[in-house]
Subunit: 357 residues, 3 copies
């Protein structure tokens, strides 16, 4: 692999920035500012990180246009409108994505004769593709992806190593499914018998992901009782998240790691769920709802709104209760003190009453 | 695949219900009532969902015997004792399970010569079965199941794609192990050295699952220090659950997603654990215990009982504290007000005392 | 497999203990005291477990030197300084580890011609090793490990079945990576558009594990935006943990199951995190910090220290608030009572004032 190499001047030109300092320094990699070394590009997004400027060994730093700073010897500064975005743009230059071998199928892949594989799809080693599956153009299946039967993967979607799709899973276009994800396992539903024994309720539905959905590593999305568990277009789900059977999640929602959403719950659009949030089953969450990390949602929440706590309540209410809770030990002492004073007053009063009586 | 097709009259007969409306309408699928379309069967379990009756496009609806409702044009209603159960019974007709290829072994499966595979077992592609394993009759191993050595899988159990069983894992009869499950990884136990360094404690025990156990996708059950980590007959575990080393879980227990049970803890029978519950190590939970979602259990809990909160306490106590907490900000103001009044009274009293003194 | 067999006298000699009772009894296995049977070795670490001594069927029990106890008929006691450690030492005798087939490569393994595999490494069935990977001496890759490209695994490390390493993952020496672990998946970072749509921020960094790191089953560690997500030497991570992009974890830290650490957060050395702890992004945790199970950390925490709760606060403060919270329902009644008394006093006072006025 030939390592890409750019001068600071070339990067400034490519990123639309104004160069200051050493224009000929060679840049071959990039890093965050705390870690960057000579030969690397880094960035300072705001004044908060400007303190690192005096320590960084980076050869080239993207900075805001108006940040007061001068380059050290041998160093280049590039002033841009949005250093973070410019840094990401530079990734495409310094860490170019490799072209996958479009239209290749590893000889070890096992593809059922009734499956349809588009000519440009890439099928990795040891993939197993079951009956009636459909794999569209420019799909990439990394090694050991298992598609049971009747699974459909839309154009330009990528499934990483070891992803398992149970029957009737439908993945939209441009989805990104990370390693270890399980889509379409049985919903967790049982009838309880008289002796407490649990009788399984079969789930014959599927899982449907819209277009542009991303699912993080080792996340699980269960299939529906009937019909589909649904995740809307553009929604992004982090690692180790649990999405139960019959759940419906709206478009452009972001769900952080280790969130759990129980059966038949419906989420609206553009929600933001913090890490480790839990939501009970059979409730509805509106559009544009923010649920802070670790909250436990026990009832339906209207949107737009911001919620926190277990049980989740409006964020400002939760903060007020939290502040009050911090005063509670002192309050207990205060009330004890008041009680003593009231008793004293009462004694005095009764004594004085008797004197005057 | 030939799609099954029944008339409403045939379904009513098969499900023991009373038909109302269009008896000849053809049914080829089923769905939940919010989503059902023409040609589909759906159900209304209770009056709560009856509102959907006027909107649903379903061609046939299972309803309670006494629900006031009349079929629309071209629609059939079937009155039954328990619509949800009738709906599930209809699944077997409309989405018949496929017969697995009993007694087949995919040529890519790698089976150690010392392993014993029953003649009717199904061994999927790319399975790896280690020394001294025993796979009983009518077991189904989906693709890429890995059994290390000395693993035993009982009759009629199903292991989904990518399940990994470490040495000395024993799976009972009729178990269902979902994709990505890891049984028997090392317990998380260390001795702490003087410099804080962690010295690994080896775990040479196993994992034993009883009969009829279900384990959800990507759940992990660690093996014991010595002896076994045990899960009792009929117990059902949801996705992404962590069961630590030496844990013992009784029969007919249901454990929702993302629960974590720490090392050496023992649970009784017929427990119900809500999602994201955590239980510390080395405690005992009785029989017939319900622990509400997100609770953190820090000590042993007797059964029967219902618990909630972190630390978990009796449910009614937790609710009372929760209600009190909501009043806390107001209480703070109230106490401040009382303090002012008491001071006023005191001033008056002392002044009046002086006058009278 | 020949089962190892030792007499109690031989074990006492090997473990440096003093034998009491039946010296010739044969020991072929070991178990925890609640479960041990005839022919097995067990241990009692402290007086707390001594009650089991009268019930255990174990043929041989390791006990503290000074514990008052006499062996039953046919039973041996071995008195040692540290029974638990002696028990673990006995594991090596009674459950000897098998020698792996050093220097073997299963013919089904797919190794890119540009990868470097050390001569003593063990490469299991169906492993897939990508371009420019380096696998050092005495590394064991269990079946179905997938190394994307530019992955490096240090000497004597073990990767269990189904581990997936994305590009640029670096694993140190003597690491132990359990089944289902995913190292190096994309960080969860997005820019939010004006309509709430989420635009992916690419992550081109890697994951670097130090030496002696253990990662539990189905845990995920995301790769960095640029540079590396880092886990220090000797750190042990339990199952189903989420470590986000750009996180840095110091040496000799223990992280229990289902913990979640958000992006760009930095942990010091020798931390101890209880199960299900969550930490927000972009904060710093000091050295020698203990965070109790289920805590939610919302800001930086200095070390050394012990913290608990959501939001996490100093442990003694959290306990005091918890104790106060338990008194809250009573406090509400108390304040109501005080209010009534104060009103009464006021009425009396005003009446008496009028009389005297």
């Amino acid at each position: 692999m030939q390592q890409p190499c750019y001068t600071a001047a070339e990067l400034a030109l490519a990123l639309g920035g104004i160069l200051q300092g050493e224009s000929t320094v060679h840049i071959t990699g990039l890093n965050r500012i705390e870690y960057a070394r000579a030969g690397e590009l880094t960035f300072v997004q705001s004044a908060h990180y400007a303190k690192y400027l005096q320590y960084t060994q980076a050869s080239c730093v993207l900075i805001p246009r108006d940040l007061p700073a001068t380059p050290r010897a041998g160093q280049a500064l590039i002033r841009v409108d949005h250093p973070y975005r410019a840094f990401v743009a530079a990734m495409a230059l310094l860490v170019p994505e490799k072209q996958p071998p479009w239209g290749s199928r590893h000889p070890s892949a096992i593809v059922d004769p009734t499956a349809t594989i588009a000519p440009t799809a890439v099928i990795g080693a040891y993939c197993v593709i079951g009956p009636h599956c459909v794999v569209a153009d420019r799909v990439i299946l990394h090694p050991m992806v298992v598609l049971y039967e009747d699974v459909s993967v839309g154009e330009s979607s990528v499934l990483h190593a070891g992803v398992v799709c149970y029957p009737r899973t439908v993945i939209g276009k441009r989805c990104l499914i990370h390693a270890g994800v399980v889509l379409g396992a049985d919903g967790f539903g049982f009838w309880e018998g008289k002796q407490g024994e649990l009788q399984k309720i079969p789930h014959v539905g599927g899982v449907v992901l819209g277009d542009g959905v991303e699912i993080g590593a080792n996340t699980t999305v269960d299939r529906s009782l009937a019909g589909n568990t649904e995740i809307g277009d553009g929604t992004k789900v982090d690692n180790l998240v649990h999405v139960a059977h019959n759940v419906s999640i709206g478009e452009h929602t972001a769900i952080a790691a280790q969130v759990g959403i129980s059966g038949s719950t419906r989420l609206g659009k553009r929600n933001r769920l913090g890490g480790q949030v839990g939501i009970v089953g059979h409730v509805s969450i509106g559009d544009d709802v923010v649920i802070e990390a670790k909250s436990g949602v026990s009832k339906s929440l209207p949107g737009p709104g911001r919620y926190f706590g277990t049980p989740a309540r409006e964020h400002y209410v939760a903060l007020r209760q939290e502040a009050a809770l911090r005063q509670l030990p002192e309050l207990l002492r205060e009330v004890q003190n008041l009680r003593r004073q009231v008793e004293e007053l009462r004694t005095w009063y009764e004594a004085s009453n008797q004197r005057n009586g």
